[in-house]
């Protein structure tokens, strides 16, 4: 071949085999159109490929087929794993288990103790506060009841005293009225026998 491009000539075999992109094809076609040697080369390649295309595919002497064979069928657990949802669930479960086994189980003692003491202190404070609150409430109620009872008794006693005083006043007033009426009658002599 005496193409003037030498080694830089287009890849005519790739072109003939349909492996060049659109730009490569365009370059090859432009060059071949202007180069008699490459036209001959491409012509011979096409003739060769056309000749090869005359070789027809042959039919199989007999069909290939398989019958169901338990040996090759997946087992029940393999079928389960072939389901995406089950496989995903198993992966998540495995991840949780792995995490449970590989995570640091023992926290530092100081931290643990510190946490325990803090919790105990909080519990004690909470209990104390609640007891105090209950006691305050009980005392308040008891005092209120005692005051109310005292006030009630005082009110009853006052009422009795007032009633007795009122009775006594009425009796005194009645006695005085009688005495006044008698004195007047003695002085005037009327109606007194």
């Amino acid at each position: 071949m005496s193409c003037k491009l030498g080694d830089g000539r287009p890849d005519l075999k790739s072109y003939a085999l349909g492996e060049l992109d659109s730009r490569g094809r365009q370059d090859a076609e432009n060059h071949v159109a202007a180069c008699a040697d490459c036209q001959d080369e491409l012509g011979a390649l096409r003739v060769t490929l056309d000749a090869m295309a005359t070789l027809r595919e042959e039919e199989l002497p007999r069909r290939i087929a398989f019958v169901s064979d338990k040996v090759f069928e997946p087992r029940w657990y393999q079928k389960l794993f072939l389901r995406p949802s089950f496989a995903a669930a198993m992966v998540i479960a495995a991840a949780i288990l792995v995490h449970a086994f590989v995570r640091p189980v023992s926290l530092p003692n100081a931290t643990a103790q510190m946490d325990t003491r803090a919790i105990e202190a909080r519990v004690a404070a909470e209990v104390t506060a609640r007891v105090q609150k209950e006691m305050d409430l009980t005392v308040t109620v008891a005092v209120a009841r005692a005051v109310a009872s005292t006030e009630e008794r005082a009110a009853q006693r006052t009422a009795l005293l007032l009633s007795a005083a009122d009775k006594r006043y009425s009796e005194d007033a009645d006695f005085l009225n009688k005495q006044v009426t008698r004195i007047y009658a003695l002085n005037t002599g009327a109606g007194v026998r």
């Binding site: 075999k13 011979a44 005359t54 595919e57 290939i64």
Partner: protein, 185 residues
């Protein structure tokens, strides 16, 4: 092709769950291509059929190892390639005794003769070269897919294929031109 890939993916998913009928349907879609690829590679119908069956059996057994169902065709041809070369290695001594030579079909060639000339020319190629031609010209794989099937760099794929094309061209083009010249008489 896209629809076919989608349907293949569905069949692969069902076959992975043990659906043998789905796998049989998948086999029926690919068996002719696999058989013809193997037939041209090993040049024996019974061997090609046996290897085809073995290929599909291994594919079924290993279907769960297929990472990307969209790459099923390349993966399947990879299995077929391994099976074929396993056989070729076993029978290497006897095949080395009889080196194939291109037949001279000189003069005008009928279509049948041209097919025979192509077969003869393919048999002159080394196994590696012939396989590169089969995967590219007859199965339509791209260079990168061929590299995946053959587990070689793309540069090696191109090297094998280009050498094979030069040899085929040297054998076939003159015969075809003679045929055309003869046909014009």
């Amino acid at each position: 092709m896209i629809f076919r890939e989608v349907e293949d993916r569905d069949l692969i998913a069902k076959a992975r769950q043990g659906d043998v009928e789905a796998y049989n349907l998948l086999v029926s879609r690919w068996e002719k291509r696999i058989f013809n690829y193997l037939l041209r590679l090993v040049s024996n119908r019974e061997d090609a059929l046996d290897i085809s069956q073995e290929t599909f059996l291994k594919a079924y057994q290993n279907l769960r190892k297929l990472d990307d169902p969209a790459r099923f065709s390349a993966w399947l041809f990879r299995i077929a390639h391994n099976e074929a070369f396993s056989l070729l290695r076993r029978r290497k001594p006897e095949s080395e005794l009889s080196e194939p030579r291109p037949r001279d079909f000189g003069g005008r060639m009928l279509p049948m003769e041209l097919s025979l000339a192509v077969e003869s020319a393919l048999n002159v190629l080394s196994e590696d070269q012939r396989e590169a031609v089969l995967l590219k010209v007859y199965q339509g794989f791209k260079f990168d897919e061929m590299a995946e099937i053959l587990e070689i760099p793309v540069s090696t794929v191109k090297s094998r294929l280009y050498t094979a094309l030069d040899l085929l061209k040297a054998t076939l083009a003159p015969a075809v031109f003679r045929k055309d010249a003869g046909g014009a008489l």
